[in-house]
Amino acid sequence: MKQMKTTELPRWATGIVLPLLNLLSALLVAALVIHLLGESPVESMKILVDSAVINPEGLGYTLFYASTFVFTGLAVSIAMKAGLFNIGAEGQMYFGGLGLTLAVLAFDASLSPWLMIPLAMLGAAVFGALWAFLPGYLQAKRGSHVVVTTIMFNFIAASLMNFIIVKYLLPEGEQNPASRVFAESAALPTLNTWFPFFGDTPLNIGFPIAIIALVIYGVVVSRSTWGYQLRATGLNQHAAHYAGVRISRMIIVAMLISGALAGLASVNSIMGSTHYLSLNFPAGAGFIGIAIALMGRQHPVGIFLSSVLFGALIQGGFDLSLEKPNIPVETFIFIQGLIILFCGAMENLYGPALLKLINATRKG
């Protein structure tokens, strides 16, 4: 006899109700902490929502951050589908930024934006993929666990980039460890050109590109035979081998795509905002990708919604700390941690109870 597991919950429950309950729990704990800091949780929440969603400019910033997170979220998700926990999106995004920058520094004076931007994106994707290749190869051929190698590669990327930026990219006479500022041809067109509603925000074509990436991801993963094999590899490697999937190639390819997507995350944050390569520019976006993949359950809609949520938390949290001196900026990191805790580590906390409730209502 089979024991009823939480996985037997209907899809609307695992896909919508559980994540919402988890999110609510995280926010409740956050509210408690804000209360302990001596501020009103309700008022703080209001400020947060106001500045992140209701205010058009705030919304613009929220979606700008979300555009980056969609890519890191996709990067972690596609690896997760293959059963690989890619912790290295941070490093891959960082290294992808180098590919982008090298392309731009070489051609931004001579190429038009129509050529410059795709070329820079290609550079970002190739370098990101490159940084994910070795962990993927080692996992596939040597069984070195990808979690361990990608963590190490994050550190290597940080040191290597530090070296490259300071030694080779720093313009003469500059103190700030960053490359030179890119020419206008390498700037992503902002959306307020067409939608003045968003006001003065960096929201750019990176956002529609992210949406396109989500759609492609959704189709490839759940409609293509390749995606079918990818998921089979993640769910049961023995069976995938039986079915004729080339497991080691699948692992390497999944890591390459994952790395390329992480690399592409740098496009929005560099070419959409700072316009130069700076030290530690990913600023944790790769790690947020992990939370997004977990919370969005690797589903394109879920990834989109969680990306927007995290974008809103950054944007709103920043304004909140300006308005409420008792609440430090780090509160956002704390809330982010809570969300990861509830959505990742305690994913099934409410599963059994919800199952009971559903069974009870069905009987009654």
Binding site: M1, K2, A232, A239, G244
Partner: protein
């Protein structure tokens, strides 16, 4: 005398599935009581309730005449109930002694009690003729010996009621005989044994009373000496079972599979397969008989392309299979499928299906490249049509293509796997343990399908550890032992004793 166990109106449901419905029967003290039934008949659920894993929705459980509410397995153990699971609960790299003491250490300092427990174990071993060295490490022991360790563990914890779940599934005929000796000794000491099985022969051999379960209910309770296999079988399925399935006269065609001098060594140079020579003709079922773990699985994996042989040659319709020039078997099964080799794997949950995929998705598993359009996307209409046809033709229940296959019973999962492999119209079909964990009604359906495939001219290589199955299906029997072929005989010379000896490694003499 008080009965050892009494079930009174026990009911238990899992969601919409009624696993036990109003089950009532008693088990006499000092008897061997058989509980039989098809898969999913509710035997395991009932025993899990007795052992404290599950809690009955309603009904009463009496142990030695007293109503008990067993909430955890620890409480069951305290009441003197012991369970030997089908899959052993042993720590492989610990000794017998440590395994017995695990969970019953009885204090912080281990060393002090070790000697004590060891002596007790030696004493129990002599008394029950268990033949186990307390200081041996588990992974060095044979399957039969590991099972004796499980029994030893229960006796040490002074179990008076011993539940055995399909204990002979992994044993040779000789090991089964010695297990039954032990059980009889156990009974002579006044202890009670509950034997869960679906093998009617064993029930007739050893039990005093039998309870037959069907669809969660008690379908019959009889005294073993007053019943027959036929009667039990028809109680189990609810209808009389046909003895022999119809088959066309044996009329083999050209050889399809030819294996010559096949060798396989593992990484540490242990010889897993030695000098295998074998052929299967079109329209012929060749059964590889043998106790499991004697190289049959490895041979099947090689023939399916899941594993590379160390040396030797395999020909399919006269053409050598492409093992050479590669460092691993990655992707090879796909090539073999295109060459016309179908494979129903032995371990269907490990290899044959993706539990989290729907029934429909599983019907194209391994053949997904045949149902894609030019964009590399699935042609869902074609798949759905194909799936509906297969579920109908192979009578998969429930007939719902969108259900996760993990929710189907073992028999129905197997039907999906067989349907998928048959529908690809292979020239050679490799079939591993097709009816393991499958209920009697489904066994018949699966056997019928395999015989039909044979009559259509497909060459079939079957691995089975059940001699009944071998007898029902095979045209020719090849016996394996220790990675070698020890004998070969046509079906009309079927002889249990001779096959048993060959399985034990006695060469053709």
């Amino acid at each position: 005398m008080q009965p050892a166990v009494e079930f009174r109106n026990i009911s238990k449901a899992f969601g919409p599935v009624q696993a036990n419905a109003d089950v009532s029967f008693t088990i006499a003290k000092g008897s061997i009581h058989g509980v039989i039934g098809e898969n999913g008949a509710g035997k395991s659920t009932l025993m899990s309730i007795l052992y404290g894993y599950y809690h009955a929705d309603s009904g009463q459980l009496l142990i030695d005449g007293q109503a008990r509410n067993i909430r955890t397995s620890q409480e069951a153990i305290d009441l003197g109930i012991g369970m030997v699971h089908q899959h052993f609960m042993l720590v492989e790299n610990m000794t017998v002694l440590d395994n017995v003491m695990l969970g019953a250490e009885g204090g912080f300092k281990l060393a002090a009690q070790r000697k004590d427990v060891e002596n007790k174990l030696r004493d129990i071993c002599t008394r029950y003729r268990l033949d186990v060295d307390p200081l041996a490490t588990i992974h060095d022991l044979s399957v039969g010996a590991q099972q004796r360790v499980e029994i030893l563990k229960q006796i040490y914890r002074s179990a008076n009621i011993l539940i055995l779940d399909e204990p002979t599934a992994v044993l040779t005929a000789q090991e089964t005989a010695s297990l039954f000796e032990i059980l009889r000794l156990f009974k002579d000491q006044g202890k009670t044994i509950i034997l869960i099985t679906h093998k009617l022969g064993e029930i007739m051999d050893i039990t005093d009373q039998v309870t037959v379960m069907r669809a969660g209910r008690v379908a019959g309770a009889v005294t073993t000496s007053e019943t027959s296999k036929e009667q039990l079988a028809s109680m189990m399925v609810g209808r009389p079972i046909e003895g022999n399935l119809p088959r066309q006269p044996f009329n083999p065609g050209a050889p399809v599979l030819k294996v010559s001098n096949l060798q396989l060594q593992d990484a540490s140079k242990v010889q897993l397969l030695a000098d295998i020579n074998l052929s299967v003709r079109a329209g012929e079922i060749v059964a590889l008989a043998g106790v499991s773990g004697n190289g049959q699985s490895e041979l099947m994996e090689i023939l399916a392309g899941m594993r590379l042989p160390t040396s030797g040659q395999v020909e399919l319709e006269g053409k050598a299979l492409p093992y050479t020039g590669r460092s691993n078997a990655d992707g090879l099964p796909s090539t073999f499928r295109q060459l016309g080799i179908g494979h129903v794997p032995e371990d269907r949950l490990r290899d044959g299906v993706i539990k989290d995929y729907s029934v429909m998705q599983n019907t194209v598993f391994g053949y997904e490249s045949r149902v894609k359009n030019r964009w590399g996307l699935f042609d869902f209409d074609a798949i759905a049509k194909r799936c509906a046809h297969l579920l109908q033709a192979f009578d998969v229940r429930p007939n719902n293509p969108d259900l996760r296959i993990g929710l189907l019973s073992g028999g129905n999962q197997q039907k999906v796997v067989i349907a998928r492999e048959v529908s690809a119209q292979p020239k050679l079909m490799l079939v591993g343990q097709p009816t393991r964990g499958v209920d009697i009604g489904t066994i018949e359906a699966i056997h019928t399908q395999l015989l039909r495939l044979r009559d259509e001219g497909v060459a079939i290589l079957l691995v089975s550890t059940e001699l009944e199955e071998v007898r029902a299906l095979a045209d020719r029997i090849v016996v394996m032992s220790g990675g070698r072929v020890t004998g070969e005989l046509p079906i009309d010379e079927f002889d249990t004793t001779r096959i048993g000896l060959l399985m034990g490694g006695m060469h053709k003499s």
